[in-house]
């Protein structure tokens, strides 16, 4: 059984992405007890699935490493991975929370030596790479994964392969009898940082995502460009592995649309501008990017970044929301629409189309197992009815990493104030 030490002076952080990690660290570094609950087998969330950050084009692994050092050095944080909050009861200052823990089948003896991976034969979808590739059923989610501990996919449990995997482990780290369990823990305040998920592009029917292999999303493109990704960092298109040198980016794919997401997702303009730099980096002057946009929203200091990309002769901007995509015989996706600057009709083929899909909350307000206020897109709002539950990061709004971290620090401060009050009352 997993044991968790938590009292009504503890802070529970739900979600171990960049916002959740930040909130947990900020609270713990003021001396509070923190329990950090994460659904995935690793921390870092969507941030670690990025190749580079805007605007400085540095690698997320760098920022993550700093946070992991802080985390490892802090005895006040307990991390629960593969864990989901299923119920919240009680009131501000005294919550009781049910957490469901999925079995990892690997215990803390794991040294990440990789022997289990070498003997495993079954392949499963690689969720870390947005299912662009496959991994073996005994896998480390990513090179940077924390905890550095392998995971056994439940699909092989009970098979002869599972026994082979267990036999390969020299450290007795594999426990095939692990069961799902539920723990109940106390908390004085809760930081809800469950983050975002990319909008389901298949719902934007004229773009034929899921049907045309060379129409992909911006999060998938991050994995294609990343040297740790399924193509080893080569920008190759999924249908035939051809080098994708003429790439179209379609902005507002799902965002600012009454039929899909009502809000502007804010980060997608910058993400596409950033991704044109991947194209430039990969192919030099042979790489051509075309951004189809309604209007570019590079807010405040990002304007410089936009101007810099705009000055690149290999990047072309077309002011138009693309009407539909068709596919040529050679697999090229062809974009149809009207350039509203001059009302010029186009039917333009590209090697690869990247849909700049927007953000939606991964847990919508109505699905949070507590009484909370959320907006029409499902983002958690700041409201007195939330009592001791505070939203952080992309659970509250469509934010970039920088703003998610700011939001998390604010949530941590509010949570700290609640548990301070509890401590004073009990003193």
């Amino acid at each position: 059984m997993t044991s968790v030490v938590a009292t009504n002076q503890s802070i529970l952080v739900v979600g171990g992405g960049i916002a959740g990690m930040t909130a947990a660290l900020e609270a713990a570094e003021t001396g509070k007890q923190v329990v950090l609950v994460e659904k995935n087998p690793y921390l870092g969330g969507r941030t670690v699935q990025l190749y580079r950050y805007f605007p400085k084009m540095c690698h997320p692994s760098c920022g993550l490493e700093i946070n992991l050092r802080r985390l490892k050095a802090n005895p006040r944080i307990q991390v629960l991975t593969m864990a989901e909050v299923t119920g919240i009861s009680g009131a501000k200052g005294n919550y009781s929370v049910n957490v469901k823990l999925a079995p990892r089948f690997v215990n803390e003896n794991c040294t990440a030596c990789g022997e289990c991976n070498r003997v495993a034969t079954t392949e499963v979808a690689d969720a870390f790479n947005y299912n662009l590739g496959k991994v073996k059923a005994a896998y480390l989610p990513s090179d940077m994964a924390y905890p550095q501990r392998y995971v056994i996919d439940p699909s092989v449990i009970g098979s002869a392969e599972a026994d082979t995997i267990k036999a390969a482990c020299k450290y007795g780290a594999i426990d095939l009898d692990m069961k799902e369990e539920t723990v109940t823990l106390n908390a004085g305040a809760i930081v809800w940082a469950t983050g975002w998920q990319p909008y389901d592009a298949e719902k934007i029917t004229p773009y034929r995502y899921g049907e045309f292999k060379n129409v992909i999303t911006n999060v998938e493109f991050e994995r294609l460009a990343d040297p740790h990704g399924p193509t080893g960092g080569k920008i190759l298109r999924p249908s035939d592995g051809k080098e994708a040198k003429n790439i179209a980016f379609i902005q507002c794919a799902g965002s600012r649309d009454e039929n899909h997401l009502r809000h502007c997702s804010r980060f997608c303009c910058m993400a596409s501008l950033k991704q044109t730099k991947y194209v430039q980096e990969a192919w030099g002057d042979e790489g051509k990017s075309t951004i189809y946009y309604i209007d570019i929203r590079a807010i405040d200091r990002f304007e410089d970044f936009y101007q810099e990309v705009k000055a690149n002769p290999n990047v072309c901007f077309v002011k138009s929301k693309v009407a539909r995509i068709s596919e040529d015989k050679n697999g090229d996706p062809r974009l149809w629409g009207v350039n509203t600057e001059g009302y010029i009709r186009y039917a333009e083929p590209h090697d690869l189309v990247v849909l700049a899909v927007g953000m939606e909350p991964s847990v919508k307000g109505v699905d949070i197992p507590a009484e909370v206020m959320s907006d029409s897109s499902g983002f958690l709002m700041a409201d007195p009815v939330n009592a001791g539950i505070f939203g952080a990061g992309c659970a509250t709004n469509a934010l970039d990493v920088n703003r998610a971290v700011q939001s998390a620090t604010a949530a941590a401060l509010r949570a700290v104030q609640v548990v301070n009050k509890v401590a004073r009352a009990e003193a």
Binding site: D257, S320, K321, V322
Partner: protein
Amino acid sequence: MSDMNQQMTAKYKNNFLKEIEEQAEMGDWVKMCMQCGVCSGSCPTNFHPGWDHPPQEIFMLIRAGKRDEVLNSQSMWMCTSCYNCYVRCPRKIPITHIMHGIAEYAYRIGRAPKNQPTLHLSQTFWNNCTKNGRVNEVQLTQTLYFKDGIADGIKKAMAMQAAALGLVKAGRLNPMEALGGGHKCKDIKGIHAMLAKAKELEAKRKGRTA
């Protein structure tokens, strides 16, 4: 220039957007357009030479007060009512309905283009169906086929011969209706009174003399 046109020009002076908002059906949606261009790109008449202004351009022209350019345009009349624009519009603007609303308004104030085939069809259909409260199919097709002269009419009729015979056999078309009369609704006077009242109410709502 008709009286209606002069009346509206005097009423709205240079505010064409307001004129469309108040006078054209669904015209109050025009200001919601964010000029993304998805309607123009989705239009099946996109590559048609008769399609002078796509919907989003019409909306911009309205806002820019280009009254003559909009009212004289063929665009609204070329609309095939496929509803692609309406379905894809990220602001859920009822574009198809607005196009029809503007077309109807242009006709009402006597500014619709001359010899417009869609307008001719609409007028013929309206007169035919409001006369007896039921459509007289034979007379309707006759009027349309012989619009461009007898020779052309016979050619069109011959081409559609098989379809017509099929309809007659199935009891969907009565050739005797060519002689006049045809099927009617029970209360023709009632229908006419309703239409007159509807026209009066609409004129009142839009603040104009019928």
